[in-house]
Amino acid sequence: MKRRDFLKATAAAGAATRFPSVRAQSRRSLGRVIVVGGGYGGATAAKYLRRWSGGAIEVLLVERSAEFVSCPVSNLVLGGTKSLANITRSYVAFADHGVQVIHDVVTAVDGKSGKLTLQHGGDLSWDRLIVSPGIQLMHDRIEGYDAKAQETVLHAWKAGPETLALRKQLEAMHDGGVFVIAIPLAPYRCPPAPYERACQVASYFKRAKPHSKVLILDANEDLTSEASLFKAAWSELYRGMIEHRPNSEVREVDARAMLAKTDFDSVKGDVLNVLPPMRAGEIARAAGLITANARWCGVDWLSMESIAQKNIHVLGDSVLPAPAMPKSGHMANQHGKLAAAAIVELMNGREPDPQPVLTSTCYSFVSDKEAIHVASVHRYNAAEKTFEPVHGAGGVSPARSEAEGTYGWAWAQAIWNDMLG
């Protein structure tokens, strides 16, 4: 080992021990990073930037919500086994990490001057910016899905008040009613989640209103994830309760008559849950980061830096995914760590890790207790300049189980601690 590498090694070991604040005072500042969006990607990046820079990078996190509400496992609130409080976490621990949290909304980003504008808090400048805004729902792609219709036809694809509102609609529905969920063409946020939602709603119906039905209008030609596991759950746990119609893209909603219309059919529901097509979050668009199909943000996979704007990094669901890379919370967490590590190197004038490896594990609850999973490992291919799934690794559950239900809920506690603890 060379002397330089040796010093680097001891510095890394030191940074990993218990005295980050002492180290921070003794080191020069490397500059300021602002993170926009405190979800699975942004919160993780903010925490790890502080940790891995030994406190040498100033980190500001701008997040509109006072608390974090998890999209993963939020379908359990619809099923009735968890409350919104169970899936909500605070940002208070960020103070311990030296991350300044600003609860505000970014209204403009100027990549040239390195400044952003807050709705309430004025302008902030950065040396590097991380944009992790999740998804924007494209309601305008579905006829009739206007602001008025959105009051009664919910998506609940961003966990929070709308999750509770959808739960209330299910509770108010009469026994014998029909819950319709419409799924857009992939890619969309969290591929298995609509099928998990169908299970959770059916699980609630089975207990509380057993004559009711779940109808899935799926724009895709088959289930986009874990098809045989979901189909087994539907036929074995909810026989006759769940109907899945493939190649059924909803193009119009009539909120007054409670109709969802495809090219071939008009379906009446008692509760309509229509997921419109999705694209990168609004601030990613405003910052000029969208590069693919007017929807997603292309990145340099070694740093998550935008291919459109220098010194701006994009994480999570807004990113144009690499082959077979899911838009999952776990993957956003991995993007956050990759970006944090790369930014520490770049701000020190070094090159990022040339061989990053990412993993994703995504649990779906098919009943109140049982879950299934899909896991994958993604390795950077230097020749192709993208991540590829590792052949022979990853996979799905052999069958649903209560053990995986336990792991799934434990996964949520653990990853919330990793990003927010």
């Binding site: 080992m1 890394a12 891995w52 490896v357 993993t359 490992v377 559950s397 792991y407 434990a410």
Partner: protein, 105 residues
């Protein structure tokens, strides 16, 4: 390489890193290990093993058993198959060098 006589003066962490230093840098080991801490950190519920502070030998042994399928698992075998043996060694060395009380690792 570092002369052997220098090592005892430094953190045990560094000694553990040095094993794989020629192929996998300490920073890369840290980055690889960060994939694990999404599920396995000191704030993890009991259902998910905590890794920090456990011996390198024990961690490598279990991961290799997951990878080969000798030890049955739901997720771990599928993930372990995505890593080289050298990467598993480096990740295990990283966690072995962490104190078991280290915050959320």
């Amino acid at each position: 390489m570092i002369p052997r006589r220098l090592i005892p003066g430094f953190l045990a962490a560094f000694a553990a890193f040095a094993v794989d230093a020629q192929t996998i840098s300490p920073d890369r080991a840290r980055n690889l290990a960060a994939a694990c801490s999404g599920c396995h950190n000191t704030g993890s519920p009991d259902a998910l093993s905590r890794l920090a502070g456990r011996s390198k030998e024990a961690l490598v042994g279990q991961m290799m058993q997951f990878k080969s399928g000798v030890r049955p698992s739901t997720v771990m075998g599928q993930l372990a198959k995505g890593y080289t043996d050298a990467e598993i060694e480096a990740i295990a060395a990283y966690f072995a060098a962490q104190g078991s009380g280290t915050t959320s690792r």
